[in-house]
Protein backbone atom coordinates (compact mmCIF):
# COMPACT_ATOMS: atom_id res chain seq x y z
CA UNK A 1 0.00 0.00 0.00
CA UNK A 2 1.26 3.44 -0.88
CA UNK A 3 1.91 6.03 1.82
CA UNK A 4 -1.13 8.25 2.41
CA UNK A 5 -0.76 11.61 0.67
CA UNK A 6 -2.36 14.89 1.77
CA UNK A 7 -5.18 14.31 -0.70
CA UNK A 8 -5.98 10.85 0.69
CA UNK A 9 -6.08 12.33 4.18
CA UNK A 10 -8.66 15.07 3.52
CA UNK A 11 -10.69 12.71 1.35
CA UNK A 12 -10.80 10.24 4.23
CA UNK A 13 -12.07 13.02 6.52
CA UNK A 14 -14.82 13.83 4.02
CA UNK A 15 -15.75 10.14 3.68
CA UNK A 16 -15.99 9.69 7.47
CA UNK A 17 -18.15 12.79 7.77
CA UNK A 18 -20.44 11.61 4.95
CA UNK A 19 -20.77 8.28 6.75
CA UNK A 20 -22.18 10.18 9.73
CA UNK A 21 -19.13 9.93 11.98
CA UNK A 22 -17.79 12.76 14.12
CA UNK A 23 -14.50 13.90 12.57
CA UNK A 24 -11.67 16.19 13.65
CA UNK A 25 -8.87 17.63 11.53
CA UNK A 26 -5.55 18.40 13.21
CA UNK A 27 -3.16 20.71 11.35
CA UNK A 28 0.43 21.67 12.19
CA UNK A 29 0.23 25.49 12.23
CA UNK A 30 3.66 26.40 13.62
CA UNK A 31 6.97 24.70 14.24
CA UNK A 32 10.07 25.82 16.10
CA UNK A 33 13.46 24.13 15.89
CA UNK A 34 13.57 20.73 14.32
CA UNK A 35 10.14 19.36 13.56
CA UNK A 36 9.51 16.13 11.71
CA UNK A 37 6.43 17.26 9.75
CA UNK A 38 6.10 20.60 7.98
CA UNK A 39 3.52 23.29 8.69
CA UNK A 40 0.26 22.39 6.97
CA UNK A 41 0.53 18.63 7.64
CA UNK A 42 -2.75 17.00 8.63
CA UNK A 43 -3.89 14.20 10.90
CA UNK A 44 -7.58 13.33 10.60
CA UNK A 45 -9.41 11.45 13.33
CA UNK A 46 -12.88 9.90 13.54
CA UNK A 47 -14.97 9.54 16.70
CA UNK A 48 -13.93 5.91 17.06
CA UNK A 49 -10.26 6.83 17.21
CA UNK A 50 -9.29 5.81 13.68
CA UNK A 51 -6.76 8.20 12.23
CA UNK A 52 -4.81 8.88 9.04
CA UNK A 53 -1.87 11.19 8.32
CA UNK A 54 0.65 12.65 10.76
CA UNK A 55 1.60 15.82 12.60
CA UNK A 56 4.94 14.54 13.92
CA UNK A 57 7.14 11.53 13.48
CA UNK A 58 4.69 9.55 15.59
CA UNK A 59 5.73 11.24 18.85
CA UNK A 60 2.57 13.19 19.67
CA UNK A 61 -0.10 11.53 17.53
CA UNK A 62 -1.54 9.68 20.52
CA UNK A 63 -2.00 12.92 22.44
CA UNK A 64 -3.49 14.67 19.40
CA UNK A 65 -6.00 11.84 18.96
CA UNK A 66 -7.18 12.26 22.55
CA UNK A 67 -7.44 16.06 22.07
CA UNK A 68 -9.46 15.32 18.93
CA UNK A 69 -11.90 13.18 20.93
CA UNK A 70 -12.59 16.18 23.20
CA UNK A 71 -12.98 18.49 20.20
CA UNK A 72 -15.39 16.09 18.46
CA UNK A 73 -17.40 16.04 21.70
CA UNK A 74 -17.43 19.78 22.37
CA UNK A 75 -17.28 21.17 18.83
CA UNK A 76 -14.87 23.89 20.02
CA UNK A 77 -11.56 24.10 18.15
CA UNK A 78 -8.36 24.29 20.17
CA UNK A 79 -4.72 25.11 19.65
CA UNK A 80 -2.35 22.66 21.34
CA UNK A 81 1.40 23.07 21.71
CA UNK A 82 3.92 20.31 22.17
CA UNK A 83 7.55 20.99 22.95
CA UNK A 84 10.50 20.16 25.13
CA UNK A 85 9.64 22.91 27.62
CA UNK A 86 6.34 21.21 28.26
CA UNK A 87 6.14 18.44 30.83
CA UNK A 88 3.56 16.47 28.82
CA UNK A 89 5.65 16.78 25.69
CA UNK A 90 8.38 14.79 27.40
CA UNK A 91 5.81 12.26 28.44
CA UNK A 92 4.46 11.88 24.92
CA UNK A 93 7.99 12.08 23.61
CA UNK A 94 8.78 14.88 21.18
CA UNK A 95 12.38 13.82 21.56
CA UNK A 96 13.70 15.66 18.52
CA UNK A 97 13.93 18.84 20.61
CA UNK A 98 11.47 20.73 18.48
CA UNK A 99 8.21 22.39 19.32
CA UNK A 100 4.98 22.31 17.34
CA UNK A 101 1.56 23.95 17.52
CA UNK A 102 -1.38 21.91 16.30
CA UNK A 103 -4.85 23.30 15.56
CA UNK A 104 -7.58 20.74 16.17
CA UNK A 105 -11.04 21.43 14.75
CA UNK A 106 -14.23 19.48 14.24
CA UNK A 107 -15.85 19.06 10.82
CA UNK A 108 -19.29 20.63 11.19
CA UNK A 109 -22.23 20.58 8.78
Amino acid sequence: MALASDSDILEQAEAWHRAGLGVAIATVVETWGSAPRPVGSHLVIDEQGHFLGSVSGGCVEGAVVSEAMDVIGSGTPRLVEFGVADETAWQVGLSCGGKIAVYVEKVVS
Partner: protein
Protein backbone atom coordinates in the same frame (compact mmCIF):
# COMPACT_ATOMS: atom_id res chain seq x y z
CA UNK B 1 -14.13 23.37 9.60
CA UNK B 2 -17.37 23.45 7.70
CA UNK B 3 -18.01 20.20 5.84
CA UNK B 4 -18.74 22.31 2.73
CA UNK B 5 -15.18 23.70 2.85
CA UNK B 6 -13.72 20.20 3.19
CA UNK B 7 -15.78 19.00 0.22
CA UNK B 8 -14.80 22.03 -1.84
CA UNK B 9 -11.08 21.58 -1.04
CA UNK B 10 -11.23 17.95 -2.16
CA UNK B 11 -13.15 18.90 -5.32
CA UNK B 12 -10.72 21.71 -6.20
CA UNK B 13 -7.74 19.42 -5.76
CA UNK B 14 -9.31 16.77 -7.99
CA UNK B 15 -9.91 19.45 -10.64
CA UNK B 16 -6.28 20.68 -10.35
CA UNK B 17 -7.28 24.15 -9.15
CA UNK B 18 -5.62 25.98 -6.27
CA UNK B 19 -7.46 27.15 -3.17
CA UNK B 20 -6.53 28.57 0.22
CA UNK B 21 -8.26 28.09 3.57
CA UNK B 22 -7.84 31.13 5.83
CA UNK B 23 -8.33 30.49 9.56
CA UNK B 24 -8.44 33.08 12.30
CA UNK B 25 -7.09 30.83 15.06
CA UNK B 26 -8.13 33.17 17.87
CA UNK B 27 -11.76 33.43 16.69
CA UNK B 28 -12.06 30.03 15.02
CA UNK B 29 -13.49 31.79 11.94
CA UNK B 30 -12.65 30.42 8.50
CA UNK B 31 -13.08 31.26 4.85
CA UNK B 32 -12.18 29.28 1.75
CA UNK B 33 -10.70 31.34 -1.08
CA UNK B 34 -10.96 29.72 -4.51
CA UNK B 35 -8.36 30.47 -7.20
CA UNK B 36 -10.55 33.03 -8.97
CA UNK B 37 -11.25 34.82 -5.69
CA UNK B 38 -7.65 35.33 -4.61
CA UNK B 39 -7.11 38.68 -6.36
CA UNK B 40 -10.09 40.21 -4.51
CA UNK B 41 -9.15 38.87 -1.05
CA UNK B 42 -7.79 41.32 1.56
CA UNK B 43 -4.81 38.95 2.04
CA UNK B 44 -4.21 38.55 -1.70
CA UNK B 45 -0.47 39.36 -1.55
CA UNK B 46 0.15 36.85 1.22
CA UNK B 47 -2.02 34.24 -0.51
CA UNK B 48 -0.24 34.65 -3.83
CA UNK B 49 3.19 34.29 -2.22
CA UNK B 50 2.07 31.23 -0.25
CA UNK B 51 0.63 29.65 -3.38
CA UNK B 52 3.78 30.26 -5.40
CA UNK B 53 5.88 28.67 -2.66
CA UNK B 54 3.30 25.94 -2.08
CA UNK B 55 3.67 26.62 1.65
CA UNK B 56 1.05 26.82 4.37
CA UNK B 57 1.83 29.10 7.32
CA UNK B 58 0.96 31.85 9.79
CA UNK B 59 0.35 35.32 8.39
CA UNK B 60 0.35 38.56 10.38
CA UNK B 61 -1.89 41.16 8.85
CA UNK B 62 -3.31 44.47 10.12
CA UNK B 63 -6.68 42.74 10.46
CA UNK B 64 -5.33 39.89 12.60
CA UNK B 65 -3.25 36.74 12.67
CA UNK B 66 -4.26 33.95 10.35
CA UNK B 67 -3.21 30.45 9.43
CA UNK B 68 -3.39 29.81 5.72
CA UNK B 69 -3.68 26.27 4.42
CA UNK B 70 -2.41 26.23 0.86
CA UNK B 71 -3.64 23.65 -1.55
CA UNK B 72 -1.75 23.99 -4.83
CA UNK B 73 -2.04 21.25 -7.44
CA UNK B 74 1.12 19.17 -7.82
CA UNK B 75 3.33 20.34 -10.68
CA UNK B 76 3.48 18.35 -13.86
CA UNK B 77 6.09 18.41 -16.55
CA UNK B 78 4.91 17.48 -20.01
CA UNK B 79 7.83 16.49 -22.22
CA UNK B 80 7.51 16.03 -25.96
CA UNK B 81 10.26 13.68 -27.08
CA UNK B 82 11.29 10.43 -25.37
CA UNK B 83 14.97 11.21 -25.99
CA UNK B 84 18.16 10.87 -23.93
CA UNK B 85 17.80 14.30 -22.27
CA UNK B 86 14.19 13.42 -21.35
CA UNK B 87 15.33 10.27 -19.53
CA UNK B 88 17.58 12.33 -17.24
CA UNK B 89 14.91 15.03 -16.89
CA UNK B 90 12.29 12.43 -15.88
CA UNK B 91 14.56 11.08 -13.11
CA UNK B 92 15.34 14.56 -11.77
CA UNK B 93 11.70 15.68 -11.88
CA UNK B 94 10.73 12.50 -10.04
CA UNK B 95 13.25 13.35 -7.27
CA UNK B 96 11.71 16.82 -7.00
CA UNK B 97 8.28 15.26 -6.58
CA UNK B 98 6.84 16.33 -9.96
CA UNK B 99 4.79 14.08 -12.17
CA UNK B 100 6.27 13.64 -15.64
CA UNK B 101 4.31 12.84 -18.78
CA UNK B 102 6.36 11.96 -21.86
CA UNK B 103 4.71 12.22 -25.27
CA UNK B 104 6.36 10.71 -28.34
CA UNK B 105 4.64 8.96 -31.26
CA UNK B 106 7.76 6.82 -31.84
CA UNK B 107 7.07 3.70 -29.77
CA UNK B 108 10.72 2.60 -29.85
CA UNK B 109 11.55 5.74 -27.86
CA UNK B 110 8.54 5.91 -25.54
CA UNK B 111 9.10 2.66 -23.65
CA UNK B 112 8.64 1.92 -19.94
CA UNK B 113 12.18 0.47 -19.72
CA UNK B 114 13.59 3.83 -20.77
CA UNK B 115 11.17 5.83 -18.56
CA UNK B 116 10.42 3.99 -15.32
CA UNK B 117 9.48 7.26 -13.54
CA UNK B 118 7.17 8.78 -16.15
CA UNK B 119 3.73 8.34 -17.66
CA UNK B 120 4.13 7.57 -21.36
CA UNK B 121 1.87 8.49 -24.25
CA UNK B 122 2.99 7.03 -27.59
CA UNK B 123 0.90 9.53 -29.53
CA UNK B 124 1.31 12.71 -31.55
CA UNK B 125 1.25 15.82 -29.35
CA UNK B 126 -1.89 17.20 -31.01
CA UNK B 127 -3.77 14.03 -29.98
CA UNK B 128 -2.19 13.57 -26.57
CA UNK B 129 -2.05 17.11 -25.17
CA UNK B 130 -5.78 17.92 -25.19
CA UNK B 131 -6.29 14.74 -23.13
CA UNK B 132 -3.43 15.56 -20.73
CA UNK B 133 -4.78 19.09 -20.27
CA UNK B 134 -1.99 21.66 -19.97
CA UNK B 135 -2.81 24.04 -17.09
CA UNK B 136 -1.04 26.77 -15.11
CA UNK B 137 0.64 24.15 -12.89
CA UNK B 138 2.21 22.48 -15.92
CA UNK B 139 5.63 23.04 -17.48
CA UNK B 140 5.92 22.16 -21.16
CA UNK B 141 9.19 21.05 -22.73
CA UNK B 142 9.82 20.18 -26.40
CA UNK B 143 12.95 18.07 -26.88
CA UNK B 144 12.72 16.09 -30.14
CA UNK B 145 14.55 18.56 -32.42
CA UNK B 146 11.95 17.52 -35.02
CA UNK B 147 9.51 20.30 -35.99
CA UNK B 148 6.91 17.70 -37.03
CA UNK B 149 6.67 16.57 -33.39
CA UNK B 150 7.77 19.66 -31.43
CA UNK B 151 5.68 22.30 -33.21
CA UNK B 152 2.19 20.88 -32.52
CA UNK B 153 3.20 20.60 -28.86
CA UNK B 154 4.44 24.20 -28.73
CA UNK B 155 1.21 25.36 -30.38
CA UNK B 156 -0.85 23.64 -27.67
CA UNK B 157 1.40 25.07 -24.92
CA UNK B 158 1.20 28.65 -26.25
CA UNK B 159 -2.59 28.42 -26.27
CA UNK B 160 -2.55 27.37 -22.60
CA UNK B 161 -1.61 29.28 -19.43
CA UNK B 162 1.17 26.85 -18.46
CA UNK B 163 3.89 28.44 -16.30
CA UNK B 164 6.85 27.41 -18.45
CA UNK B 165 7.52 26.59 -22.09
CA UNK B 166 10.96 25.48 -23.27
CA UNK B 167 12.28 24.14 -26.56
CA UNK B 168 15.60 22.45 -27.34
CA UNK B 169 17.67 23.79 -30.21
CA UNK B 170 20.35 26.30 -31.08
CA UNK B 171 19.66 30.00 -31.68
CA UNK B 172 19.60 29.23 -35.42
CA UNK B 173 17.10 26.38 -34.98
CA UNK B 174 15.00 28.59 -32.76
CA UNK B 175 15.01 31.46 -35.27
CA UNK B 176 13.59 29.08 -37.89
CA UNK B 177 11.04 27.83 -35.36
CA UNK B 178 9.91 31.39 -34.63
CA UNK B 179 9.49 31.98 -38.37
CA UNK B 180 7.32 28.87 -38.77
CA UNK B 181 5.16 29.59 -35.72
CA UNK B 182 4.95 33.28 -36.61
CA UNK B 183 3.63 32.47 -40.07
CA UNK B 184 1.18 30.06 -38.42
CA UNK B 185 -0.31 33.16 -36.80
CA UNK B 186 1.32 33.41 -33.35
CA UNK B 187 2.07 36.95 -32.16
CA UNK B 188 5.45 37.96 -30.74
CA UNK B 189 4.15 37.99 -27.14
CA UNK B 190 3.16 34.31 -27.42
CA UNK B 191 6.45 33.36 -29.07
CA UNK B 192 8.35 35.21 -26.32
CA UNK B 193 7.03 32.69 -23.79
CA UNK B 194 9.27 30.00 -25.29
CA UNK B 195 12.56 29.63 -23.43
CA UNK B 196 15.13 28.88 -26.14
CA UNK B 197 17.87 27.87 -26.20
CA UNK B 198 16.35 25.89 -23.36
CA UNK B 199 17.74 25.81 -19.80
CA UNK B 200 19.85 28.04 -17.58
CA UNK B 201 23.22 28.88 -19.08
CA UNK B 202 25.51 26.60 -17.05
CA UNK B 203 27.61 25.44 -20.00
CA UNK B 204 25.79 22.08 -20.04
CA UNK B 205 27.26 19.46 -22.38
CA UNK B 206 26.01 15.96 -21.52
CA UNK B 207 22.32 14.97 -21.67
CA UNK B 208 22.15 14.89 -17.84
CA UNK B 209 23.70 18.36 -17.61
CA UNK B 210 21.22 19.71 -20.16
CA UNK B 211 18.40 18.12 -18.14
CA UNK B 212 19.80 19.81 -15.01
CA UNK B 213 19.81 23.22 -16.71
CA UNK B 214 16.19 22.67 -17.84
CA UNK B 215 15.09 21.49 -14.41
CA UNK B 216 16.72 24.55 -12.80
CA UNK B 217 15.00 26.88 -15.26
CA UNK B 218 11.64 25.28 -14.53
CA UNK B 219 12.22 25.60 -10.77
CA UNK B 220 13.11 29.29 -11.21
CA UNK B 221 9.93 29.85 -13.22
CA UNK B 222 7.96 28.14 -10.47
CA UNK B 223 9.47 29.83 -7.42
CA UNK B 224 10.72 33.27 -8.42
CA UNK B 225 8.39 36.25 -8.45
CA UNK B 226 7.30 37.05 -12.00
CA UNK B 227 9.40 39.88 -13.40
CA UNK B 228 6.42 41.32 -15.21
CA UNK B 229 3.51 42.59 -13.11
CA UNK B 230 0.67 40.09 -12.87
CA UNK B 231 -1.84 40.34 -15.69
CA UNK B 232 0.50 41.88 -18.24
Amino acid sequence: MKAAFLQAMNAERAARRACVLVTDLAQGVQRLVLSDGIAADPLHQELETALRMGKSGMVDHETGRYFITVQAPPLRIVVVGAVHVSQALASMAHLLGHRVIVVDPRTAFASKERFPDADLLAQWPDEALPVVGIDRYTAFVALTHDPKIDDPGLVAAMKSDCFYIGALGSRKTHAKRLERLGSAGFAAEHLARIHAPIGLDIGAVSPAEIALSIMAEITAAQRKKPERPAGS
